[in-house]
Subunit: 396 residues, 2 copies
């Protein structure tokens, strides 16, 4: 099978509703020919967009869904009661055309926030959208919810289990630079495996936490971030035997990591990816806090962008993270070169040693803060002139 092919029993469609000025698809639809077990991971932002609230309502009461509709150009966030009413209306339009229940239609939106949905354009586009089912592949669906992504992000994998082969496909857009307005990250994950409704949400949430929650572009958590996962069982191959479960979880984690990595890598703004690995903290939470403080530091991000072996900015960020530590327990290396050990600077011509490694796209930063069991790996992008340009010019 091609990367572009969806798992069995899924169809994709897209349409030009005209939410954006450009002449391109801005509305995408995924349809499962049978009930699919559904899971969702959503933004932790207090201001959840209407499509997020609508998905959460559905998943509270239902374990299955049939369709996912995604639009770009309008975030339907911070739109209050009218926004939620409009979102429900779009679910209903699509459900009626497909002959399914409105509660089986999950929703995703990205774009400028605060504006109400253009309902006349929705009404006009839905017939075309539903009629287009089967005409698009993974890339075609992905292109419909792209905003300023430099490339469409999708991946597929066939997995051999004891009962046969199942397929996993992810389609994503975002983040940060890529969607300058809201840093929105959207991802759809489809599989034809047979999964248990009781455990699909926790399995998927666990894999998402290990992958999507460990990348950062600018630290801004969108109102719309959504990952939805549908498993329709069309392959008739189950993942429940212990060894199959282990293989499937590993492969799911891998494909989500690949997809998350594409998000950090993309964008006119991002030129490098820092791989910030913190070890020896008292807990994983402490390690995470240190990694995020370093990964979000404007001074660290600009130094890495400038290929500057300015390791003091990394040490300063560790020190202001709020995590309790003893300076004499802290060691740092950059691109494999030890710079700071047990709270003391190491001698050496670091500028010369690091000149070559800092030209590369991937920048490993190893941080050790003691002998504790806590660790965390964060992938974070640099901060470039391109980032500021795109984010300050976006609407003007």
């Amino acid at each position: 099978m091609q990367t572009n092919d969806l798992p069995q029993g899924f169809m994709a469609g897209a349409a030009q509703a005209g939410f954006k000025a450009k002449d391109r698809d801005d509305l995408g639809l995924i349809f499962s020919t049978c009930d699919a077990v559904a899971a969702g991971v959503f933004t932790t932002n207090v201001f959840k967009a209407a499509p997020v609230l609508a998905c959460q309502e559905i998943l509270k009461n239902h374990t299955t869904a049939r369709a996912i509709v995604a639009n770009s150009g309008q975030a339907n966030a911070c739109t209050g009661e009218e926004g939620l009413k409009n979102c429900h209306a779009t679910q209903k339009m699509i459900a009626e055309r497909l002959g399914i229940d409105a509660d089986a239609v999950l929703t995703m939106s990205t774009g400028v926030i605060g504006d109400q949905l253009k309902m006349d354009k929705w009404t006009a586009a839905v017939p075309d959208l539903v009629a287009s089912l089967g005409s698009r592949d993974a890339e075609g669906f992905t292109r419909a919810f792209m905003t300023t992504d430099a490339f469409p992000k999708f991946a597929s994998k066939d997995i051999q289990l004891s009962g046969g082969t199942v397929r996993l496909t992810t389609m994503a857009k975002g983040a940060g630079m890529i969607c300058p307005n809201m840093a929105t990250m959207l991802c759809v994950c489809l599989t034809d495996a047979v999964v248990e409704p009781e455990s699909w949400q926790s399995l998927f949430a666990r894999c998402a936490d290990r992958t999507f929650n460990r990348v950062s572009v600018d630290g801004d958590t969108s109102t719309n971030d959504t990952i939805l996962a549908l498993a329709n069982g069309a392959s008739t191959v189950s993942i429940t035997a212990p060894e199959d479960a282990a293989i499937f979880e590993k492969e799911l984690t891998d494909i989500l990591r690949t997809t998350a990595h594409m998000l950090v890598k993309d964008g006119e703004g991002a030129t490098k990816v820092m791989h910030i690995h913190v070890q020896g903290a008292d807990s994983d939470a402490d390690a995470e806090q240190i990694a995020r403080t370093v990964g979000h530091s404007q001074l660290v991000k600009t130094a890495i962008y400038g290929r500057d072996a300015n390791w003091g900015r990394i040490v300063a960020a560790i020190g202001r993270s709020g995590v309790r530590m003893r300076p004499e327990d802290v060691s740092v290396s950059l691109c494999g070169v030890d710079l700071f050990r047990n709270g003391q600077p190491l001698g050496g011509n670091f500028d010369a040693q690091l000149e070559g490694p800092l030209q590369k796209e991937d920048i490993p930063i190893e941080i050790s803060v003691g002998k504790g069991p806590g660790s965390y790996l964060l992938e974070a992008s640099d901060l470039s002139i391109g980032y500021v340009k795109l984010n300050s010019d976006y609407r003007s």
Copy 2:
């Protein structure tokens, strides 16, 4: 008196030690002709620079000091035991020349971190430095510890109390953009008022917390941030009568606010100052957390830089602050224009309404999150192409 004159009993000097390539003063000295009651407020970073540790040692055991030595070009941070030994050696050199105790010499450093002090240059420069006392004014001292500040930052004020007139002078450098390498903020505050040794530290810390701790350039807390305050009593005018105490505290707060405001305003990178006022939170701490999340958001900072009425970014930052709130309690106005009330967007052509106000340098952002008593005002700079340029090019 001129703005440039120091309070009675204080003298300033400066010298060219050659820490920086440029042909300019890089070493400054303040001397009090009599014992001065001393207070200090320091960085909360775990990695405190050697001069910070040296000051903290002194202020733990002594309530008075006689001199402050400040250098640019070398931060003496992350320099381990050798760094602290070097710092003590500089105190000793200066104390010997002045005929005072080494424990009476407070220290401040700013510059590239990780390098050890150039002790040969210190040794050569100290005689000139001490000999220059009396030859410099407030501006002259300030210029000695400037790094890339666009202008020297100092202010003076004569205050009428019941017993006569006292004078307050502040001299500062920093932050963020202004000292791209470490975002270091240094400030010296001098007064000839008679103060009580028991209460000077708490009075000064209170005023600094209301002012310096409420400005933000990039959220990066330096290893070297230091504010030192000396009160030498040379005016013989006391601040202890209740009404005098109230006047003095108000005037001290005012001059520190003025000084802090200069820090945010300065810099090739900063083009605007956001005045982020949060009200109605459960506590001041909650209000502060919301204000800092908004003020540090790269998406908010770049929107303000781009003069974009993109209020959704402000609402999204409020929502991800980690503070518990109900969306329906949240209201936001930008430059006096109401945009979002009780969790609902307000209609209006905001782009047109805000086009004029967003051209200005000062950008008020009013945020209300409920009916609680907690409030906070943060001044934060925008994020410009200039910031990234300066911070990525600084050492290359």
